[in-house]
């Protein structure tokens, strides 16, 4: 044995395994990327590594994304501003979500649980960062404009995601631009991008889920499955409807895995279950956590279904105002009408997707079909079972469904370079425009029809046709502001006014007041105690709406049925508000209190 005395075998090789760009290279790469996005640069021999190319592509994509996002956002938020500030056309639920966020930060009893448990929390959480800006721009709160900003952001993001999805499918650029544009111009998409409702954020996360799921079906990268699952969890935190797409998408993941894995069926089942779990676990976790928190704080895991403010009781109280299932074939026709108005060309898109799927054995269409199809299924089933009202907006998921299926129908295989490209390109554009433009007209018709789209009609009706049915709503903001100003004028101390802020207009009263801490609201932890004995807790006034309709759900009316009529023997009438666009609220002064606060 001898001591090895040879020098170390060190070869001066460049480190070929280096994948990550060092800090100094960024500037150079950035310039290269910008040149390439103008189509000037050729990737010469050794000009850049594949890492640099990806980096450049990343920047290129970000630019494209931004160039879609910004105009869409500006358009939606401008329309939102017009709706709020000029026409005073508000979506009640959008106000409530923003108000809930407001209670968490600025109410008499600021606490996290004030976010409320009837509706899933993400829409409120997402407007929270905007609220402190009220110091600069009070309209964000008093007009609930923060929610419009939020929905514009997410709807513009959805438009970007539609485009990214089409790019993943390698849809030709002309058709891609046409479909994206026509998606962004769908009247329902414009309205719900602008009016602050939670539809935008819900669609955004569902689109994110769909895109990742489709990527996973295509390339089977586990990371896509993970991201898709996380996006689905966020979708659930935005809207409870996500439960059904979660189950369907879980089945898709499990089935696709099971069918494509080799081995004994036991082994395949195991892998399928594992992949399904990875996809569904984040949403399941979100579900369990939200239910647990709700259970601990309000004593019931699923408030949306059990609460007096939840779906069921709202439906009962508001039965006359909204279309509900009255059984029989009429309901089926009604929901079919709504769906076909928003997706008149769905069958064509579906046929195209199916054709491509069969021809190329491409299963990516299963992603939009399971995710958005799941939401539509939920809507149809719950409506037919009489559990939800027949709102047109509940059908909004059918729009991305046909848009993405249309994309699947126009997908090209990787590396495809057919001859006569301009002709194919033109054909694709024409097809896309025809399929995507028709629903614009039909949705517009549905939205302006009082029977098919009652909510949308009341929102937009009086703008388009002054003096129509919803015209009164236009004054809701001013009426609520009037109540707030009146109360502000009395200069009341903390916790002086008892009210149930679930009644329409009441959120606007709190949001519009300069002293939001003067109100005792349902979200406060001591609300029930104060309600049981308001005088002992130094409440001085009670604000109560008339009975009937949603007024029957009002806690004060439930506790003191005669309050509105006669003061329930403990209070005397102090003021009656005219209530144009709002319920005709009455302000009762509790006897034993001195009225003017000290």
């Amino acid at each position: 044995m001898s001591v090895d005395t040879r020098p170390l075998a060190v070869l001066p090789q460049p480190d070929a395994r280096r994948r990550f760009v060092r800090a100094g290279d960024h500037r150079q790469l950035l310039e290269a990327a910008l040149r390439s996005s103008r189509g000037v640069l050729r990737w010469g021999r050794g000009a850049a590594t594949s890492g640099a190319r990806n980096f450049a592509r990343g920047i290129g994509r970000r630019r494209v994304g931004l160039s879609i996002f910004l105009p869409a956002f500006v358009a939606y938020v401008t329309i939102g501003a017009l709706l709020s500030f000029r026409y005073h056309s508000f979506a009640g639920d959008a106000q409530s979500r923003l108000a809930n966020a407001f209670y968490v930060l600025y109410s008499r009893d600021p606490h996290l649980a004030a976010i409320g448990f009837v509706w899933n929390p993400l829409p409120s959480i997402s407007v929270m960062p905007l609220l402190p800006l009220k110091a600069i721009f009070p309209g964000l709160v008093t007009y609930a404009f923060g929610s419009n900003v939020m929905s514009s952001v997410f709807m513009a993001g959805s438009v970007v995601l539609v485009h990214s999805f089409l790019r993943d499918l390698r849809v030709r650029v002309g058709a891609r631009v046409a479909i994206t544009t026509l998606f962004a111009l769908q009247p329902m998409i414009i309205l719900y991008g602008a009016n602050g409702m939670s539809e935008a954020i819900f669609l955004f996360f569902l689109l994110l889920t769909t895109r990742r799921l489709a990527s996973w079906i295509d390339a089977r990268r586990t990371w896509d499955l993970v991201l898709g699952g996380v996006a689905l969890a966020f979708a659930y935190l935005a809207r409870v409807e996500a439960v059904v797409p979660a189950m369907l998408a879980f089945s898709v993941v499990a089935a696709v895995t099971g069918l494509s894995t080799a081995g004994a069926w036991r082994e395949r089942a195991r892998v399928a279950a594992l992949n399904g779990f990875l996809f569904a676990a984040p949403a399941a976790f979100a579900f369990v956590i939200w239910a647990t928190i709700s259970w601990i704080i309000v004593g019931h895991p699923l408030e949306q279904f059990s609460s007096q403010y939840g779906n069921a009781s709202q439906l009962q109280a508001e039965g006359e105002r909204f279309v509900t299932n009255r059984g029989g074939i009429g309901s089926l026709r009604f929901i079919t009408l709504q769906l076909s108005a928003l997706a008149a060309t769905l069958p064509i898109a579906f046929a195209a997707a199916a054709w491509v799927s069969v021809r190329r054995r491409d299963l990516r269409w299963l992603a939009p079909a399971s995710v958005f199809g799941g939401v539509v299924l939920f809507t149809v089933v719950t409506f037919l079972r009489g559990q939800t009202a027949g709102h047109l907006r509940y059908c909004i998921a059918v729009i991305p469904l046909w848009v993405l299926l249309l994309g699947c129908g126009l997908a090209r295989p990787a590396g495809h370079m057919g001859g006569r490209r301009w002709l194919r390109s033109l054909a694709a554009i024409c097809f896309a425009v025809v399929v995507a433009a028709v629903p614009i007209g039909t949705s517009a018709l549905a939205m302006s029809d009082k029977r098919v789209g009652p909510e949308e009609h009341s929102h937009l009706g009086y703008i388009l046709k002054p003096g129509s049915a919803g015209y009164e709503l236009r004054f809701a903001h001013d009426s609520a502001q009037g109540i707030a100003s009146y109360l502000d004028g009395i200069r009341l101390p903390r916790g002086a006014v008892l009210m149930d802020n679930f009644t329409p207009c009441t959120p606007l009263v709190v949001l519009g007041s300069r002293h939001p801490k003067q109100f005792v609201i349902t979200n406060d932890r001591d609300f029930q105690r104060v309600l049981a004995d308001p005088i002992a807790f130094h409440a001085k006034y009670v604000l109560v709406p008339p009975r009937g309709g949603l007024g029957d759900l009002n806690e004060i009316n439930r506790q003191y049925p005669t309050m509105y009529e006669s003061g329930a023997g403990i209070a005397k009438l102090a003021h009656e508000f005219s209530g144009k666009g709002c319920p005709a609220f009455r302000l009762y002064q509790l006897s034993g209190s001195t009225g003017r606060g000290g």
Binding site: D15, V226, F285
Partner: protein, 521 residues
């Protein structure tokens, strides 16, 4: 270049000693026994001293001979006293501050882990050498394979098979079995196994701490190979591992001086503990260590299946015989000296502990060793920061200090969480303001879920769906970890260098004779 900070080891005395030790001697090997490396009394004494106090003499501040310096003890005592005083004087505020700081740290750890994991998932950062490339190598360097064994005669026969299965020319391979001098049973087993010619036995003389790193250092004194590889006696390295390591070294920049093979278990299906163990190793060796290696930050080595360049290994002072996780410590020292570690896509199978008591002994030794390593390297944080850079410093603290610390913190947070649920938030709500308590709770619950989820993801990525249930039940494993961590913390105070030997051979192994296949990675 690196290396100036530990006194150069290529001293003349050492060269002379080595020469003498390696002088050709009359052949003592008979056909029936193993070759025992003969070392005369004086050399043996010199080597022993070198193995025990080599690092301490060269760089006392990097040795674990004294776990804490007086300065550290004073600082610790001072901080402890201040904390107790604050707790007594301002209980509420102090508790709040502690919870806030811990929550913040925990959030950073989880986010950081997710990022590291994501990067390893998206890019394969293992050094992957194809079979063809490995087999086509020429001019192979001599490799000294060091295999310490202590009182484990039952694994010797198996060892001959597994190490014998390494595909490397025997003329370039120098396998040294490191046996304690008084370990007659193991020696007898080796003789009985009649090892091939490239195997030899080194008898470690008595004295100093009786630890694996001491034996390794002694073996290193006698090592002649350009590369040094370390295996445990019960290991089953993938046959092409050494060739792959040579190829990986040739492919890397010269600052890569150490390669860590991937570790996994051959008995992972034995019971839930072994499954947990396997799932944990999978995440560690498949995702975290490659992620660390790719970021050029210190990689705590894994104890076996390391292949190192001998010269640099000696330069940084070899293993620390007083540290009970000498492997992790060595990895840090390599990086402090400006070298790097790579993670090799080649798996060595080990035996997982299937018994709780045995597992707890091993784990508490690891936790103790990590704490020791952390204390040693944090003696001069500014110097560590200089030598490792901000990212390396950060990673060192998270992976070496953070691992046992997290295990110690876990039960406290679990208790707080359960308390919140049981008392319906009233008790905790009175103690902490919601602005501190809710983020802490959210962070804790979500963070735990994320870590469990990532465990399941890693199991899927590695194509081992049979471990999924174990990965899901990981929180129970964390409870075991916390038990071990508390035992470790107690032992660190009482008996810092005690090495609790892990018993092997607990799993009777029917598939023992099957050759080890290279695992896809």
């Amino acid at each position: 270049m690196p290396g100036t900070w530990v006194r150069s080891t290529a001293s003349r005395t050492y060269a002379r000693l080595l020469e003498r030790a390696l002088e050709p001697r009359p052949e003592r090997r008979t056909s029936r026994t193993a070759r025992v490396v003969a070392v005369d009394e004086a050399t043996s004494r010199a080597f022993l001293r070198r193995s025990i106090d080599g690092l301490y003499d060269a760089a006392p501040d990097l040795s674990c001979k004294e776990t804490t310096t007086p300065g550290q003890r004073r600082l610790g005592l001072g901080l402890g006293t201040t904390l107790v005083m604050l707790l007594i004087l301002e209980t509420r505020i102090t508790l709040m501050a502690i919870v806030a700081v811990l929550t913040y740290l925990y959030a950073i750890v989880v986010i950081y882990r997710v990022r590291l994991f994501r990067r390893s998932m998206l890019s394969n950062s293992l050094l992957d050498i194809s079979d063809e490339e490995a087999l086509a190598l020429e001019d192979l360097p001599i490799i000294t394979v060091l295999i310490p064994a202590y009182k484990e005669p039952e694994v010797i026969a198996r060892l001959m098979l597994d190490i014998g299965a390494l595909d490397y020319p025997t003329s370039r391979l120098d396998v040294k079995l490191l046996i304690e001098q008084d370990d007659a049973e193991t020696l007898a087993a080796i003789h009985a196994a009649r090892p091939p010619r490239h195997f030899s036995v080194v008898l470690i003389p008595d004295g100093g701490p009786r630890t694996k790193p001491k034996a390794l250092n002694y073996g290193l004194c006698l090592a002649a190979g350009e590369l040094v590889a370390v295996y445990d006696a019960e290991d089953r390295p993938e046959p092409l591992q050494l060739r792959r390591a040579v190829a990986a070294f040739r492919r890397s920049t010269p600052d890569v001086v150490c390669l860590q093979g991937r570790l996994a278990y051959y008995n992972s299906g034995h019971n839930l503990i072994t499954k947990w163990f396997e799932a944990e190793y999978l995440a560690w060796f498949r995702f975290f260590l490659p992620g660390l290696a790719e970021r050029h930050v210190p990689v705590p080595l894994g104890g076996t299946s390391n292949v190192m360049r001998r010269k640099e290994l000696q330069e940084v002072g070899g293993w620390d015989p007083y540290n009970v996780t000498e492997d992790a410590d060595l990895g840090i020292r390599f990086h402090r000296a400006g070298y790097r570690t790579g993670v090799l896509a080649s798996t060595t199978l080990e035996e997982a502990n299937s018994d709780f008591v045995n597992w707890a002994k091993q784990r508490s030794r690891w936790q103790k060793g990590y704490l020791q390593t952390w204390l040693v390297h944090m003696r001069d944080p500014r110097r560590l920061w200089r030598e490792l850079g901000p990212s390396g410093f950060f990673n060192f603290n998270f992976f070496v200090g953070g691992t046992p610390l997290l295990a110690l913190m876990n039960p406290v947070f679990w208790a707080l969480t359960i308390l919140w649920f049981v008392t319906e938030s009233s008790l905790i709500g009175n103690l902490f303001p919601p602005l501190i308590y809710f983020p802490a709770l959210a962070c804790w619950v979500i963070g735990n879920a994320v870590v469990v989820y990532l465990g399941v993801v890693s199991v899927e990525l590695d194509g081992q769906p049979e471990l999924a249930v174990a990965a899901l039940l990981a929180p129970l494993y964390w409870v075991m970890m916390s038990v071990a961590a508390y035992k470790a913390a107690w032992q660190l105070v009482r008996n810092p260098s005690l090495w609790e030997k892990t018993a092997h051979g607990l799993t009777a192994n029917p598939a023992a004779a099957a050759p080890v296949q290279r695992m896809a990675s």
